[in-house]
Protein backbone atom coordinates (compact mmCIF):
# COMPACT_ATOMS: atom_id res chain seq x y z
CA UNK A 1 0.00 0.00 0.00
CA UNK A 2 1.29 3.43 -0.81
CA UNK A 3 2.38 5.89 1.86
CA UNK A 4 1.39 5.20 5.42
CA UNK A 5 -2.15 4.20 4.55
CA UNK A 6 -3.38 1.28 6.61
CA UNK A 7 -5.38 -1.56 5.04
CA UNK A 8 -8.93 -1.91 6.26
CA UNK A 9 -9.99 -5.39 7.24
CA UNK A 10 -13.37 -6.82 8.10
CA UNK A 11 -13.77 -10.01 10.09
CA UNK A 12 -16.68 -12.37 10.45
CA UNK A 13 -16.05 -14.21 13.69
CA UNK A 14 -17.99 -17.16 14.98
CA UNK A 15 -19.57 -16.42 18.35
CA UNK A 16 -18.42 -19.65 19.98
CA UNK A 17 -14.76 -19.82 18.94
CA UNK A 18 -13.09 -17.01 17.08
CA UNK A 19 -15.06 -14.25 18.77
CA UNK A 20 -14.34 -15.70 22.17
CA UNK A 21 -10.70 -16.00 21.09
CA UNK A 22 -10.71 -12.34 20.14
CA UNK A 23 -12.27 -11.53 23.49
CA UNK A 24 -9.57 -13.49 25.28
CA UNK A 25 -6.91 -11.67 23.24
CA UNK A 26 -8.36 -8.40 24.52
CA UNK A 27 -8.55 -9.60 28.12
CA UNK A 28 -4.97 -10.88 27.87
CA UNK A 29 -3.93 -7.42 26.66
CA UNK A 30 -2.34 -8.69 23.47
CA UNK A 31 -1.32 -6.01 21.01
CA UNK A 32 -3.82 -6.10 18.12
CA UNK A 33 -4.10 -4.09 14.91
CA UNK A 34 -6.59 -1.26 15.24
CA UNK A 35 -7.78 -1.24 11.62
CA UNK A 36 -9.86 -4.36 11.97
CA UNK A 37 -13.67 -4.38 12.29
CA UNK A 38 -15.45 -7.38 13.68
CA UNK A 39 -18.90 -8.66 12.86
CA UNK A 40 -20.00 -11.40 15.22
CA UNK A 41 -21.96 -14.24 13.66
CA UNK A 42 -23.54 -17.10 15.53
CA UNK A 43 -21.69 -19.54 13.27
CA UNK A 44 -19.09 -19.06 10.57
CA UNK A 45 -21.63 -20.64 8.22
CA UNK A 46 -23.79 -17.56 8.68
CA UNK A 47 -21.28 -15.71 6.53
CA UNK A 48 -23.10 -15.72 3.24
CA UNK A 49 -20.67 -15.43 0.28
CA UNK A 50 -22.45 -12.24 -0.75
CA UNK A 51 -21.25 -10.59 2.48
CA UNK A 52 -17.67 -11.13 1.40
CA UNK A 53 -18.25 -9.69 -2.04
CA UNK A 54 -20.17 -6.77 -0.66
CA UNK A 55 -17.29 -5.98 1.67
CA UNK A 56 -14.72 -6.26 -1.12
CA UNK A 57 -16.71 -4.14 -3.57
CA UNK A 58 -17.39 -1.68 -0.77
CA UNK A 59 -13.65 -1.08 -0.55
CA UNK A 60 -12.49 -3.31 2.27
CA UNK A 61 -8.91 -4.41 1.67
CA UNK A 62 -9.35 -7.79 3.28
CA UNK A 63 -12.03 -10.03 4.70
CA UNK A 64 -11.35 -12.68 7.30
CA UNK A 65 -13.75 -15.47 8.16
CA UNK A 66 -12.89 -17.32 11.34
CA UNK A 67 -14.71 -20.20 12.98
CA UNK A 68 -14.27 -23.29 15.10
CA UNK A 69 -11.86 -26.02 14.06
CA UNK A 70 -13.41 -28.77 11.91
CA UNK A 71 -15.24 -31.15 14.22
CA UNK A 72 -15.67 -28.53 16.94
CA UNK A 73 -18.59 -26.59 15.45
CA UNK A 74 -21.13 -25.57 18.06
CA UNK A 75 -23.79 -26.61 15.56
CA UNK A 76 -22.00 -29.86 14.67
CA UNK A 77 -21.24 -29.18 11.00
CA UNK A 78 -21.63 -25.52 10.14
CA UNK A 79 -17.93 -24.93 9.56
CA UNK A 80 -17.71 -27.74 7.02
CA UNK A 81 -20.20 -25.85 4.90
CA UNK A 82 -18.23 -22.64 5.45
CA UNK A 83 -15.12 -24.36 4.19
CA UNK A 84 -16.86 -25.43 0.98
CA UNK A 85 -18.35 -22.00 0.45
CA UNK A 86 -15.05 -20.24 0.93
CA UNK A 87 -13.42 -22.57 -1.59
CA UNK A 88 -16.19 -21.58 -4.01
CA UNK A 89 -15.60 -17.88 -3.31
CA UNK A 90 -11.85 -18.32 -3.84
CA UNK A 91 -12.45 -20.14 -7.11
CA UNK A 92 -14.77 -17.40 -8.37
CA UNK A 93 -12.22 -14.75 -7.48
CA UNK A 94 -9.47 -16.76 -9.15
CA UNK A 95 -11.55 -17.31 -12.29
CA UNK A 96 -12.09 -13.56 -12.53
CA UNK A 97 -8.51 -12.80 -11.45
CA UNK A 98 -9.81 -10.58 -8.67
CA UNK A 99 -7.22 -10.88 -5.90
CA UNK A 100 -8.39 -13.95 -4.02
CA UNK A 101 -5.71 -13.24 -1.39
CA UNK A 102 -8.05 -10.66 0.09
CA UNK A 103 -10.36 -13.36 1.44
CA UNK A 104 -9.14 -15.69 4.15
CA UNK A 105 -10.57 -18.45 6.26
CA UNK A 106 -9.01 -19.53 9.53
CA UNK A 107 -9.93 -21.86 12.32
CA UNK A 108 -9.40 -20.22 15.72
CA UNK A 109 -10.70 -21.75 18.93
CA UNK A 110 -11.83 -19.82 22.01
CA UNK A 111 -8.51 -20.41 23.79
CA UNK A 112 -6.23 -19.53 20.90
CA UNK A 113 -5.86 -15.82 21.55
CA UNK A 114 -2.24 -15.75 20.43
CA UNK A 115 -3.20 -17.52 17.20
CA UNK A 116 -5.84 -14.86 16.70
CA UNK A 117 -3.22 -12.17 17.13
CA UNK A 118 -0.83 -13.94 14.76
CA UNK A 119 -3.46 -14.51 12.04
CA UNK A 120 -4.59 -10.92 12.17
CA UNK A 121 -1.13 -9.39 12.17
CA UNK A 122 0.05 -11.61 9.33
CA UNK A 123 -3.04 -10.90 7.25
CA UNK A 124 -2.60 -7.17 7.66
CA UNK A 125 1.13 -7.39 6.90
CA UNK A 126 0.34 -9.31 3.69
CA UNK A 127 -2.27 -6.74 2.72
CA UNK A 128 0.22 -3.95 3.23
CA UNK A 129 2.31 -5.59 0.54
CA UNK A 130 -0.58 -5.35 -1.94
CA UNK A 131 -2.01 -2.37 -3.78
CA UNK A 132 -5.05 -0.78 -2.23
CA UNK A 133 -8.35 -2.34 -3.26
CA UNK A 134 -9.24 -0.94 -6.72
CA UNK A 135 -12.94 -1.29 -5.95
CA UNK A 136 -12.59 1.67 -3.62
CA UNK A 137 -12.17 4.04 -6.56
CA UNK A 138 -14.22 2.18 -9.16
CA UNK A 139 -17.12 4.33 -10.36
CA UNK A 140 -19.02 1.83 -12.51
CA UNK A 141 -19.57 -0.90 -9.93
Amino acid sequence: MSGNEEPRVLGFLCNWCAYAGADLAGVSRLQLPANFCVIRTMCSARTEPLFLFKALLGGMDGVLVAGCHPGDCHYQRGNYFTRRRLVMVQEILKALNMEHERVRLHWISASECSLYQKVLTEFIEDLKGMERNVARDEVFL
Binding site: V87, M88, E91, A95
Partner: protein, 365 residues
Protein backbone atom coordinates in the same frame (compact mmCIF):
# COMPACT_ATOMS: atom_id res chain seq x y z
CA UNK B 1 -23.90 -49.17 -17.25
CA UNK B 2 -20.72 -51.22 -17.22
CA UNK B 3 -21.03 -52.93 -20.59
CA UNK B 4 -21.48 -50.87 -23.74
CA UNK B 5 -25.13 -49.94 -24.22
CA UNK B 6 -26.96 -51.22 -27.24
CA UNK B 7 -29.49 -49.22 -29.20
CA UNK B 8 -32.36 -49.48 -31.65
CA UNK B 9 -31.62 -48.15 -35.11
CA UNK B 10 -34.53 -46.29 -36.70
CA UNK B 11 -35.08 -46.30 -40.43
CA UNK B 12 -35.65 -42.62 -41.03
CA UNK B 13 -34.18 -39.70 -42.93
CA UNK B 14 -35.58 -37.10 -40.58
CA UNK B 15 -33.06 -37.02 -37.79
CA UNK B 16 -34.66 -36.07 -34.47
CA UNK B 17 -38.14 -35.94 -36.03
CA UNK B 18 -37.91 -39.72 -36.22
CA UNK B 19 -38.88 -39.61 -32.55
CA UNK B 20 -42.36 -38.23 -33.21
CA UNK B 21 -44.14 -41.38 -34.49
CA UNK B 22 -42.45 -43.38 -31.74
CA UNK B 23 -43.73 -41.01 -29.07
CA UNK B 24 -47.22 -41.26 -30.59
CA UNK B 25 -46.99 -45.03 -30.38
CA UNK B 26 -46.00 -44.90 -26.72
CA UNK B 27 -48.95 -42.59 -26.00
CA UNK B 28 -51.42 -44.81 -27.85
CA UNK B 29 -50.16 -47.85 -26.04
CA UNK B 30 -50.90 -46.15 -22.74
CA UNK B 31 -47.55 -46.74 -21.07
CA UNK B 32 -47.16 -42.98 -20.76
CA UNK B 33 -49.81 -40.42 -19.97
CA UNK B 34 -48.34 -37.44 -21.73
CA UNK B 35 -45.40 -36.16 -23.72
CA UNK B 36 -43.63 -32.90 -22.96
CA UNK B 37 -41.83 -31.54 -26.00
CA UNK B 38 -41.33 -28.41 -28.10
CA UNK B 39 -44.11 -27.60 -30.54
CA UNK B 40 -44.24 -24.97 -33.21
CA UNK B 41 -46.48 -22.15 -31.99
CA UNK B 42 -49.64 -21.32 -34.03
CA UNK B 43 -47.98 -18.25 -35.52
CA UNK B 44 -45.35 -20.62 -36.92
CA UNK B 45 -42.50 -18.36 -35.84
CA UNK B 46 -41.56 -19.71 -32.45
CA UNK B 47 -41.47 -22.81 -30.32
CA UNK B 48 -42.86 -23.66 -26.92
CA UNK B 49 -42.86 -26.66 -24.64
CA UNK B 50 -46.29 -28.26 -24.65
CA UNK B 51 -47.65 -31.12 -22.60
CA UNK B 52 -49.34 -33.32 -25.18
CA UNK B 53 -51.91 -36.01 -24.43
CA UNK B 54 -53.41 -36.25 -27.90
CA UNK B 55 -51.14 -38.15 -30.30
CA UNK B 56 -52.57 -36.15 -33.23
CA UNK B 57 -51.12 -32.92 -31.83
CA UNK B 58 -47.69 -34.47 -32.07
CA UNK B 59 -47.68 -33.79 -35.80
CA UNK B 60 -46.69 -30.19 -35.07
CA UNK B 61 -43.91 -31.30 -32.80
CA UNK B 62 -40.32 -30.43 -33.45
CA UNK B 63 -38.18 -32.28 -30.90
CA UNK B 64 -35.13 -30.18 -31.72
CA UNK B 65 -36.08 -26.60 -32.63
CA UNK B 66 -33.38 -24.34 -34.04
CA UNK B 67 -33.82 -21.91 -31.18
CA UNK B 68 -34.08 -22.20 -27.40
CA UNK B 69 -37.06 -20.31 -26.06
CA UNK B 70 -38.09 -21.50 -22.61
CA UNK B 71 -35.74 -24.19 -21.37
CA UNK B 72 -37.07 -27.69 -20.80
CA UNK B 73 -36.01 -27.71 -17.16
CA UNK B 74 -38.22 -24.68 -16.51
CA UNK B 75 -41.15 -26.27 -18.33
CA UNK B 76 -40.79 -29.46 -16.32
CA UNK B 77 -40.41 -27.52 -13.10
CA UNK B 78 -43.66 -25.62 -13.63
CA UNK B 79 -45.38 -28.98 -13.98
CA UNK B 80 -43.77 -31.06 -11.25
CA UNK B 81 -42.57 -28.52 -8.69
CA UNK B 82 -45.00 -29.84 -6.10
CA UNK B 83 -44.62 -33.46 -7.13
CA UNK B 84 -45.49 -35.27 -10.32
CA UNK B 85 -48.90 -36.46 -9.14
CA UNK B 86 -48.35 -39.84 -10.74
CA UNK B 87 -48.58 -38.53 -14.31
CA UNK B 88 -46.14 -40.56 -16.39
CA UNK B 89 -44.39 -38.14 -18.70
CA UNK B 90 -42.01 -38.59 -21.59
CA UNK B 91 -40.01 -35.37 -21.59
CA UNK B 92 -38.06 -34.63 -24.76
CA UNK B 93 -35.34 -32.01 -24.55
CA UNK B 94 -31.75 -31.10 -25.36
CA UNK B 95 -28.94 -32.44 -23.15
CA UNK B 96 -28.35 -29.04 -21.52
CA UNK B 97 -32.06 -28.67 -20.73
CA UNK B 98 -32.18 -32.18 -19.32
CA UNK B 99 -29.14 -31.38 -17.18
CA UNK B 100 -31.00 -28.30 -15.98
CA UNK B 101 -33.94 -30.51 -15.06
CA UNK B 102 -31.65 -32.89 -13.18
CA UNK B 103 -30.07 -30.01 -11.26
CA UNK B 104 -33.54 -28.70 -10.47
CA UNK B 105 -34.54 -32.11 -9.19
CA UNK B 106 -31.59 -31.95 -6.79
CA UNK B 107 -32.83 -28.55 -5.68
CA UNK B 108 -36.31 -29.92 -5.08
CA UNK B 109 -37.87 -28.03 -7.98
CA UNK B 110 -38.53 -30.93 -10.32
CA UNK B 111 -39.88 -34.37 -9.51
CA UNK B 112 -38.32 -36.90 -11.87
CA UNK B 113 -40.08 -39.87 -10.24
CA UNK B 114 -42.49 -40.45 -13.11
CA UNK B 115 -40.55 -38.65 -15.81
CA UNK B 116 -38.65 -40.39 -18.57
CA UNK B 117 -36.11 -37.94 -19.94
CA UNK B 118 -35.39 -38.31 -23.63
CA UNK B 119 -32.34 -36.42 -24.88
CA UNK B 120 -30.66 -36.23 -28.26
CA UNK B 121 -27.49 -35.10 -29.95
CA UNK B 122 -27.82 -31.33 -30.19
CA UNK B 123 -26.28 -29.28 -32.97
CA UNK B 124 -26.74 -26.05 -31.02
CA UNK B 125 -29.24 -23.25 -31.45
CA UNK B 126 -29.16 -19.88 -33.15
CA UNK B 127 -29.24 -16.68 -31.06
CA UNK B 128 -32.80 -15.93 -29.97
CA UNK B 129 -32.64 -12.27 -30.95
CA UNK B 130 -31.58 -13.02 -34.53
CA UNK B 131 -34.27 -15.68 -34.76
CA UNK B 132 -36.93 -13.32 -33.43
CA UNK B 133 -35.93 -10.60 -35.90
CA UNK B 134 -36.34 -13.15 -38.65
CA UNK B 135 -32.90 -12.79 -40.20
CA UNK B 136 -31.87 -16.28 -39.22
CA UNK B 137 -34.46 -19.01 -39.67
CA UNK B 138 -32.71 -22.27 -40.34
CA UNK B 139 -35.12 -24.97 -41.41
CA UNK B 140 -32.66 -27.76 -40.77
CA UNK B 141 -29.84 -27.35 -38.33
CA UNK B 142 -26.61 -28.93 -39.38
CA UNK B 143 -23.75 -30.01 -37.18
CA UNK B 144 -21.11 -27.63 -38.52
CA UNK B 145 -23.22 -24.52 -38.27
CA UNK B 146 -21.31 -21.28 -37.78
CA UNK B 147 -24.53 -19.44 -36.95
CA UNK B 148 -25.08 -21.11 -33.61
CA UNK B 149 -24.65 -19.21 -30.36
CA UNK B 150 -21.14 -18.69 -29.01
CA UNK B 151 -21.99 -20.74 -25.93
CA UNK B 152 -23.19 -23.62 -28.13
CA UNK B 153 -19.98 -23.45 -30.12
CA UNK B 154 -18.02 -24.27 -26.99
CA UNK B 155 -20.48 -26.85 -25.62
CA UNK B 156 -18.63 -30.09 -24.99
CA UNK B 157 -21.73 -31.84 -23.65
CA UNK B 158 -23.94 -31.34 -26.71
CA UNK B 159 -24.21 -35.11 -27.14
CA UNK B 160 -24.20 -36.03 -23.45
CA UNK B 161 -26.54 -38.95 -22.92
CA UNK B 162 -27.96 -37.74 -19.63
CA UNK B 163 -31.54 -38.80 -20.36
CA UNK B 164 -33.03 -42.20 -19.67
CA UNK B 165 -33.23 -42.60 -23.42
CA UNK B 166 -30.88 -40.90 -25.86
CA UNK B 167 -31.25 -40.37 -29.59
CA UNK B 168 -27.93 -40.38 -31.42
CA UNK B 169 -28.18 -38.99 -34.93
CA UNK B 170 -25.43 -36.43 -35.44
CA UNK B 171 -22.94 -36.16 -38.29
CA UNK B 172 -24.89 -38.21 -40.80
CA UNK B 173 -25.44 -41.25 -38.58
CA UNK B 174 -28.66 -43.18 -38.89
CA UNK B 175 -30.83 -42.31 -35.87
CA UNK B 176 -30.27 -44.72 -33.03
CA UNK B 177 -32.25 -44.79 -29.78
CA UNK B 178 -30.14 -45.86 -26.84
CA UNK B 179 -31.62 -46.72 -23.44
CA UNK B 180 -29.33 -45.54 -20.64
CA UNK B 181 -31.16 -47.20 -17.75
CA UNK B 182 -34.13 -49.40 -16.84
CA UNK B 183 -36.65 -46.67 -17.40
CA UNK B 184 -35.26 -45.90 -20.83
CA UNK B 185 -35.42 -49.57 -21.74
CA UNK B 186 -39.10 -49.68 -20.73
CA UNK B 187 -39.86 -46.61 -22.83
CA UNK B 188 -38.08 -48.16 -25.78
CA UNK B 189 -40.14 -51.31 -25.41
CA UNK B 190 -43.32 -49.23 -25.34
CA UNK B 191 -42.27 -47.69 -28.63
CA UNK B 192 -42.12 -51.17 -30.07
CA UNK B 193 -38.36 -51.24 -30.50
CA UNK B 194 -35.60 -53.49 -29.28
CA UNK B 195 -32.13 -52.37 -28.34
CA UNK B 196 -30.16 -54.75 -30.50
CA UNK B 197 -28.02 -52.43 -32.59
CA UNK B 198 -24.38 -51.66 -32.03
CA UNK B 199 -23.66 -48.18 -30.70
CA UNK B 200 -19.89 -48.10 -31.17
CA UNK B 201 -20.08 -45.86 -34.25
CA UNK B 202 -22.13 -43.29 -32.36
CA UNK B 203 -19.84 -43.46 -29.35
CA UNK B 204 -16.69 -42.86 -31.40
CA UNK B 205 -18.31 -39.94 -33.21
CA UNK B 206 -19.47 -38.39 -29.96
CA UNK B 207 -16.17 -38.79 -28.17
CA UNK B 208 -14.15 -37.19 -30.96
CA UNK B 209 -16.71 -34.40 -31.25
CA UNK B 210 -16.67 -33.78 -27.50
CA UNK B 211 -12.90 -33.78 -27.45
CA UNK B 212 -12.82 -31.18 -30.22
CA UNK B 213 -15.35 -29.04 -28.41
CA UNK B 214 -13.54 -29.37 -25.10
CA UNK B 215 -10.38 -28.04 -26.67
CA UNK B 216 -12.29 -25.17 -28.26
CA UNK B 217 -14.00 -24.46 -24.95
CA UNK B 218 -10.71 -24.20 -23.13
CA UNK B 219 -9.26 -21.98 -25.82
CA UNK B 220 -12.21 -19.58 -26.13
CA UNK B 221 -12.96 -19.34 -22.44
CA UNK B 222 -9.25 -18.88 -21.82
CA UNK B 223 -9.30 -15.91 -24.17
CA UNK B 224 -12.33 -14.52 -22.38
CA UNK B 225 -10.55 -15.02 -19.09
CA UNK B 226 -7.66 -12.89 -20.26
CA UNK B 227 -10.02 -10.29 -21.70
CA UNK B 228 -12.04 -10.00 -18.49
CA UNK B 229 -9.22 -10.38 -16.02
CA UNK B 230 -9.38 -8.17 -12.96
CA UNK B 231 -12.06 -5.80 -11.77
CA UNK B 232 -11.57 -3.11 -14.44
CA UNK B 233 -11.68 -5.51 -17.40
CA UNK B 234 -14.61 -7.38 -15.90
CA UNK B 235 -16.48 -4.10 -15.68
CA UNK B 236 -15.78 -3.51 -19.38
CA UNK B 237 -17.47 -6.84 -20.17
CA UNK B 238 -20.44 -5.97 -18.00
CA UNK B 239 -20.77 -2.26 -18.59
CA UNK B 240 -23.66 -2.44 -21.03
CA UNK B 241 -25.77 -4.26 -18.41
CA UNK B 242 -29.05 -2.41 -17.88
CA UNK B 243 -30.03 -4.05 -14.57
CA UNK B 244 -33.11 -5.71 -16.04
CA UNK B 245 -32.27 -9.03 -14.33
CA UNK B 246 -33.57 -10.91 -17.39
CA UNK B 247 -30.62 -13.30 -17.17
CA UNK B 248 -31.81 -14.36 -13.76
CA UNK B 249 -35.43 -14.73 -14.83
CA UNK B 250 -34.61 -16.83 -17.88
CA UNK B 251 -32.13 -19.01 -16.00
CA UNK B 252 -33.48 -22.51 -15.34
CA UNK B 253 -31.38 -22.83 -12.18
CA UNK B 254 -32.42 -19.51 -10.59
CA UNK B 255 -35.63 -20.87 -9.18
CA UNK B 256 -36.08 -18.64 -6.12
CA UNK B 257 -39.49 -17.07 -6.15
CA UNK B 258 -38.00 -13.82 -4.91
CA UNK B 259 -34.38 -13.20 -5.76
CA UNK B 260 -32.14 -11.83 -3.02
CA UNK B 261 -31.50 -8.89 -5.33
CA UNK B 262 -35.18 -8.08 -5.69
CA UNK B 263 -35.93 -7.89 -2.00
CA UNK B 264 -36.81 -4.40 -0.91
CA UNK B 265 -35.17 -4.91 2.45
CA UNK B 266 -31.86 -5.62 0.73
CA UNK B 267 -31.92 -2.39 -1.21
CA UNK B 268 -29.65 0.32 0.04
CA UNK B 269 -31.53 3.16 1.61
CA UNK B 270 -31.24 6.62 0.07
CA UNK B 271 -29.26 7.76 3.11
CA UNK B 272 -26.79 4.92 2.73
CA UNK B 273 -26.28 5.73 -0.95
CA UNK B 274 -25.85 9.38 -0.06
CA UNK B 275 -23.21 8.54 2.54
CA UNK B 276 -21.39 6.37 0.02
CA UNK B 277 -21.59 9.14 -2.55
CA UNK B 278 -20.01 11.54 -0.10
CA UNK B 279 -17.24 9.07 0.68
CA UNK B 280 -16.55 7.99 -2.90
CA UNK B 281 -17.20 11.14 -4.86
CA UNK B 282 -18.62 9.60 -8.01
CA UNK B 283 -20.46 6.39 -8.71
CA UNK B 284 -22.91 4.79 -11.08
CA UNK B 285 -26.56 4.77 -10.02
CA UNK B 286 -28.40 2.62 -9.25
CA UNK B 287 -25.57 0.72 -7.58
CA UNK B 288 -24.71 -2.95 -7.45
CA UNK B 289 -24.58 -3.94 -11.11
CA UNK B 290 -21.47 -6.02 -10.53
CA UNK B 291 -22.77 -7.22 -7.19
CA UNK B 292 -25.78 -8.75 -8.91
CA UNK B 293 -23.69 -10.78 -11.32
CA UNK B 294 -21.21 -11.82 -8.66
CA UNK B 295 -24.13 -12.78 -6.46
CA UNK B 296 -25.55 -15.02 -9.14
CA UNK B 297 -22.14 -16.59 -9.63
CA UNK B 298 -22.18 -17.45 -5.93
CA UNK B 299 -25.71 -18.72 -5.91
CA UNK B 300 -25.81 -20.83 -9.06
CA UNK B 301 -22.43 -21.26 -10.69
CA UNK B 302 -22.08 -24.68 -9.08
CA UNK B 303 -25.33 -25.75 -10.73
CA UNK B 304 -24.86 -23.86 -14.01
CA UNK B 305 -25.39 -26.10 -17.06
CA UNK B 306 -24.21 -23.54 -19.65
CA UNK B 307 -27.54 -23.61 -21.49
CA UNK B 308 -27.11 -20.01 -22.58
CA UNK B 309 -30.63 -18.89 -21.68
CA UNK B 310 -29.17 -15.87 -19.88
CA UNK B 311 -27.28 -14.68 -22.93
CA UNK B 312 -30.34 -15.16 -25.14
CA UNK B 313 -32.39 -13.10 -22.71
CA UNK B 314 -29.92 -10.23 -22.43
CA UNK B 315 -31.14 -7.22 -24.39
CA UNK B 316 -27.78 -5.48 -24.10
CA UNK B 317 -25.57 -8.20 -25.56
CA UNK B 318 -23.49 -8.96 -22.48
CA UNK B 319 -21.63 -12.28 -23.01
CA UNK B 320 -23.03 -13.43 -19.70
CA UNK B 321 -23.35 -17.14 -20.49
CA UNK B 322 -19.69 -17.27 -21.48
CA UNK B 323 -18.65 -15.46 -18.32
CA UNK B 324 -20.69 -17.90 -16.27
CA UNK B 325 -19.26 -20.86 -18.19
CA UNK B 326 -15.77 -19.57 -17.44
CA UNK B 327 -16.49 -19.24 -13.73
CA UNK B 328 -18.60 -22.34 -13.30
CA UNK B 329 -16.11 -24.61 -15.05
CA UNK B 330 -13.65 -23.59 -12.40
CA UNK B 331 -15.92 -23.75 -9.35
CA UNK B 332 -17.45 -27.06 -10.40
CA UNK B 333 -14.11 -28.70 -11.04
CA UNK B 334 -12.93 -27.64 -7.57
CA UNK B 335 -15.59 -30.00 -6.22
CA UNK B 336 -15.16 -32.57 -9.02
CA UNK B 337 -18.71 -31.85 -10.02
CA UNK B 338 -20.29 -31.33 -13.42
CA UNK B 339 -23.82 -29.99 -13.18
CA UNK B 340 -26.51 -32.38 -14.34
CA UNK B 341 -24.20 -35.23 -15.27
CA UNK B 342 -24.63 -37.51 -12.29
CA UNK B 343 -28.04 -37.84 -10.68
CA UNK B 344 -26.61 -39.50 -7.57
CA UNK B 345 -23.94 -36.91 -6.80
CA UNK B 346 -25.20 -34.28 -4.41
CA UNK B 347 -24.94 -30.58 -5.07
CA UNK B 348 -21.55 -29.42 -3.65
CA UNK B 349 -22.75 -26.88 -1.10
CA UNK B 350 -25.20 -29.16 0.68
CA UNK B 351 -22.73 -31.89 1.46
CA UNK B 352 -19.18 -32.25 2.76
CA UNK B 353 -16.51 -34.69 3.82
CA UNK B 354 -14.71 -34.31 7.11
CA UNK B 355 -11.32 -34.40 5.43
CA UNK B 356 -11.22 -32.60 2.11
CA UNK B 357 -10.06 -29.58 0.16
CA UNK B 358 -6.83 -29.24 2.06
CA UNK B 359 -3.97 -27.42 0.41
CA UNK B 360 -4.56 -28.47 -3.20
CA UNK B 361 -3.20 -25.18 -4.40
CA UNK B 362 -1.90 -23.04 -1.60
CA UNK B 363 -3.49 -22.29 1.69
CA UNK B 364 -7.23 -22.65 1.78
CA UNK B 365 -8.07 -22.77 5.41
Amino acid sequence: MSEAPRGATIQSEEGPRALVPLLARALEKGTSDAVLLPLRTPGQDSYAFVLVKDPRLLRQADPLPPVQTVTGGRALSSLTRHGGGGVRILAVMRPCEARGAIELSKLGQVDLKDVTLITMDCPGTVPLQRFARGDLRPSAVGFADQDIRPICQVCDLSCAAVGDLHLGWGEGLAPILIPMDERGAEALLAMGLRAEGDTSEWRTTVSSRSQERRERREERLGQLRVASSGLDNLMVRLDSCINCHNCMRACPICYCRVCAFDIRRQERSANEVLDLAKARGSMRLPMDTLMFHLGRMNHMSLNCVSCGACEDACPAGVPIAQLFAMVSDRTQSAFKYRAGMDRQQRSPLITFLEKELEGEDGQRC
